[in-house]
Point group: C2
Chain length 211, copies 2
């Protein structure tokens, strides 16, 4: 089970590491972080450097593709070599997935046209410019494409996928191994639950697709 996670400047660390931490425990799983050039790729905050062990050119196929989000997806949406690679890998994947604004990359590659998809709550309009129909669910499956909502949703997305691949018991064992028994101290994890005042505090405003 070859899993590849492309990373690019200004990606969000948890978008990538959440699903990695779940999927790497699937029987026989190998996870490879890949980038345009092997080496350290800095996240959106610049505070994390994650090593890409392979170049995109070296990865010709994967069973599972996981595209993380982050501010860097804006540039990625017009990065033709990256989009070509995503399309090429997707052609033979068993599963093609995204977390957060990673769905913008799948969309820009033309993979979401006419499909339902989810993404970070702040950029739903931008997602729809790619031909997808935004669906306000945490995990959205359309055939072999699975999209997850913002950042932390990658853990739920990956557990859903783990169950599809290895069965519910294996997925539950992974959930227990990472002690994923979430108990957030507040109930503010969605725009509706948080309300407009907390939404404004995030500094994340709903995007205008004509921006």
């Amino acid at each position: 089970m070859d899993i590849v996670i492309p990373i690019f400047p200004y990606f969000t660390a948890l978008d990538a590491i959440g699903p990695y931490e779940v999927l790497r425990s699937l029987p026989g799983a190998t996870v490879t972080f890949a980038a345009a050039t092997p080496g350290i790729v800095r996240t959106d905050s610049r505070m994390v450097g994650l090593q890409a062990d392979a170049s995109f050119a070296e990865i010709e196929a994967a069973d599972i593709l996981v595209v993380p989000g982050g501010w860097g997806t804006r540039a990625a949406m017009s990065d033709e070599p990256l989009l070509d690679w995503v399309r090429r890998i997707h052609a033979t994947t068993q599963w093609t997935t995204s977390v957060c604004t990673g769905s913008l990359v799948l969309g820009a590659a033309g993979l979401l046209r006419g499909l339902k998809a989810t993404t970070h709550w702040a950029i739903t309009d931008l997602l729809e410019t790619t031909g997808a129909t935004y669906t306000a669910e945490r995990v959205v499956r359309q055939g072999k494409i699975i999209t997850g909502a913002g950042v932390s949703a990658g853990i739920d997305m990956a557990l859903t996928l783990a169950a599809e691949i290895a069965g519910e018991d294996q997925a539950k064992a992974i959930q227990l191994a990472i002690e994923y028994d979430p108990q957030p101290p507040f109930d503010a994890g969605s725009p509706a639950k948080a309300g407009p005042r907390i939404q404004a505090l995030t500094g994340m405003l709903k995007t205008d697709p004509t921006d």
Copy 2:
């Protein structure tokens, strides 16, 4: 707000990245990953290489210390230079925290004697050899020391800490920014909820402290 996250061979990626993704959004926060030697440190799976931007020797103080877990904590428990550094940093922190088996490192440094603490469910006996009293809660606070349970609990721990530092509204805004509205597909995130059959499937057996 200087936050330092020590990393060492065989740490668990999500233990470090979960709290990082929360705490890095605190106003004025800077997160530094540090190691014995700057450079790439490989995780427990060896599939992730995270860059340590500083050496322990370069970090003389921090407002917040976050010690992640992973199999590497077994070796870390007798790594005297690391333990000395942890004690030195702890002396002037505002908050000293751990995720998962990171509590073994705090314990081995002598910081948990007589205190309640939590850790990964599979190594509770080992934690108690350090003088701590294991407490089966997701986040345990004792003065300025906060310990989190296994792996994913670092997100809940960090949100709790974010509220202490910057107030509930800021913590809620961070929760919304990372869309932390968890919806695990199964309810198997604790040993009690998962039951003995799933516990056995994890391959993680309760440790014998005399091992």
